[in-house]
Amino acid sequence: MVVPAMLAMRDIRKSFAGVPANDGISFDVGEGEIHALLGENGAGKTTLMNILYGIYAADSGSIVWRGEVLGGHGPKEAIAQGIGMVHQHFMLVPTLSVSENITLGLKSRGHPFPDRRRLDTDILELSARYGLDVDPAAKVASLSVGERQRVEIMKLLYRDARLLILDEPTAVLTPGETDGLFRVLATCKGQGHSVILITHRISEVLAFADRITVLRDGARVATLEAAGATAAGLSTLMIGRELKSPARRTAPAASLPRSAAGDRAGLEARAISLRPVAGKGLQSVSFSVAPGEIFGIAGVDGNGQKELAECLLGLRIPDSGKLLFGGLPVEGLGPRQRKRRGLAYVSDDRHHDGLVLGFDLAENYLLGKLDDPRFVRFGLVDRKACLRGAGGAIADYHVKTRGPTEEVRLLSGGNQQKLILARELSSGPAIIVAFQPARGLDIGATEFVHERLLERRAAGSSVLLISSDMDELLGLADRLAVLHRGRLSPAYDNDGSLDMMRIGLLMGGQGMAEEACAS
């Protein structure tokens, strides 16, 4: 190192229940530097930063911050020292105003009866200086994701943070918002702030970072200058092998033998509308998914994706429009009847939507088989059949577990998702709704999920893939459309002709109206 580092973390170790999350990581950040921390899910990036921010205590290792040793500190001390963190799950109180969120925990003048108007003026001044547009009086609940992120960054700048840690900040942003974020970070850098960027997106790192540290399996693999790095080199460092491109084109949709469903769409939505609640609704959403097709719905989270999925599942009743499974309307049918019509659902929210954490594997397997006479006869559960079924699923889907009687909460996220896939896909569903099915999974598990979906496509299922991850969509979908503020763009074929620029603009809502008119 030529310049003395602003931050030096040395040989940081941290284990959870005997499993090392950080295995002797060393890491430096200089003044006015944007340093990217690159790695897969589970590589130990967030753990390392939570240790720096004082949320976890390291098992061993040292942290030197601006020449002083940090240790045994909590977030409060970290903030006082000028270290601030924007978490992946925003740390905002939605029912409070922007201004109250920004000053939360500070003893402003006049404490405990601060002069709110004065604070608002200060906030506006600061926001002008960094080009961060926020309305101090607005309730956080009414803000978009991008706006909330700006509030988070303002929170740090208001506290005079010298080092900003951002955990996967672009995961929730449109391409346009992402550019905006990096302009702000450049301004921060220009004013002498350092930035640590936690991410797994190689393209961003190459475009915006000064230096890159790559983590893999809890250990540091390399630290290098961004200027000399290449995408291929970084991805090899990150995963330890060459990235395999998904084998989508093995069985093109057109060449598939048509099933008994004939030419009818497996899943069709006609002008589904849902009155907005808290700004999230659906406006005349139409699409159809043929058997043997993966139809992708792109877009940033919170634009009506969850609502659409819940309409398909039967958890919500659309205000108008028609839903058809295999050409037959499903109005008035609940989730149970729709499942009987061949619907399977794979959600990103394993803990709430997919599993009952207090149940064992066999019971979670049964959760999707309650109408299957092999497992339930005359209202009685055949426990032995459940154990056999779960055992088969464990073997077929390579679920790492001690056995079908283990509680699922003890499984890793990837293995939990494999169990859900096994349960949902083993019955050969005609329709699959996959909602961010690989979120939070490591590369291996992600590939596994994708392969299973492609398998089902080859077997003739109609797959609806809702995702905010463009790479996932481009790798899997036959056609895709963009959902923005409850409106769906026309569908585009996912082949060489796809205009990525246009998709990016649609995700930010630009061109949405014209597209809708044109169709």
Partner: protein, 317 residues
């Protein structure tokens, strides 16, 4: 002539009834304000009944022993705080289920107060009496027709309830402390990451709840009854929980809800005294029935704090 007399009599009736309603509302309001603070910070304390009972008993026994009402009130506050902090110790400190802890607290308070009452007095037919805080007529204001007797000729607990409503409003709406309580109940992880001590904030809220709840209990024994008997609070703690829900955890809302259910209680007493041959249970039942009916009107209008009843654990989300 007889018309005006009739009218005057009716007005008199009405003002007596309104005054009784306000008096009956006071314990509900005081306890409700405390619970509103607690719930805003994220602690659901079903043990409010136990807190009030502890307060009522401690206040009675000390006032009886020292013949000093003020010492009794202090003891009532201490008793309520002790009970509430026991709840917090488990529900905040040990992250136990707050509903079950609250229920257990009620059982314990009921058992302890009855045990010590019997220990002190045995099974007597004549209830031992303690001094009562007399009503204070506020000069000038108490001579306003109708409103004077209703609002300004009450016992000091009632005045405290009025003042406390305003103070809690100030706390919630104008102070940074209110923002902190709110953050602790809505998103404790956000409060934590902003450097606030969520656990301490919740303990403080629990202490405030105990203080108010104990005072509410004291207002029953030292404000109106002048004696203690087993389970003297007779479900008022639970009714206060409804008052909090109905008032949407806002001080003035809580006050209105308390007045409504206080009026139900006053009506019940009034009808019981009119000797009609109807079993008194018909009237005794009335406030509880009203509570359920009133609860029906809260449907869809309240939104609980997002972390209500969920113990804070930094390592978990």
């Amino acid at each position: 002539m007889s018309d005006t007399q009739g009218f005057a009599a009716l007005l008199g009736e009405l003002s007596t009834f309104a005054a009784a309603s306000v008096r009956m509302a006071a314990p509900l309001l005081i306890a409700g304000l405390g619970e509103a603070i607690s719930e805003t910070a994220g602690i659901l304390n079903i043990g409010l009944e136990g807190i009030m009972l502890s307060g009522a008993f401690a206040a009675f026994i000390v006032a009886w022993a020292t013949q000093n009402v003020w010492l009794g009130i202090m003891a009532g506050i201490a008793g309520g705080m002790l009970a509430s902090l026991l709840h917090a110790l488990l529900g905040v400190g040990r992250r136990a289920d707050q509903t079950i802890t609250g229920l257990a607290l009620n059982f314990l308070a009921s058992g302890l107060t009855s045990y010590f009452f019997l220990m002190a007095f045995g099974r007597t037919t004549s209830l031992p009496e303690c001094p009562v805080l007399p009503a204070v007529e506020i000069p000038l204001l108490s001579s306003i027709p109708f409103f004077g007797p209703v609002l300004f000729s009450q016992n000091p607990f009632v005045y405290f309830a009025f003042v406390a409503t305003g103070l809690v409003w100030l706390l919630f709406r104008r102070s940074e402390w209110g923002v902190i309580l709110h953050a602790a109940g809505e998103n404790p992880h956000a409060a934590d990451s902003a450097g606030l001590d969520v656990i301490r904030t919740r303990y403080v809220a629990a202490a405030a709840n105990g203080c108010f709840g104990g005072l509410a209990g004291a207002s029953i024994t030292l404000g109106t009854l002048g004696f203690f008997m087993e389970n003297v609070t007779s479900g008022k703690g639970y009714i206060a929980l409804v008052v909090v829900i109905l008032g949407r955890r806002q001080p003035f809302g809580v006050a209105l809800a308390a007045l409504l259910l206080g009026a139900a209680d006053a009506l019940q007493f009034r009808m019981q005294t009119g000797n009609s041959g109807i079993p008194s249970q018909v009237f005794i039942m009335f406030p509880y029935l009203m509570t359920v009916i009133v609860l029906l009107f809260s449907i869809g209008k309240t939104r609980d704090p997002a972390s209500l009843g969920i113990p804070f654990d930094r390592g978990r989300r």
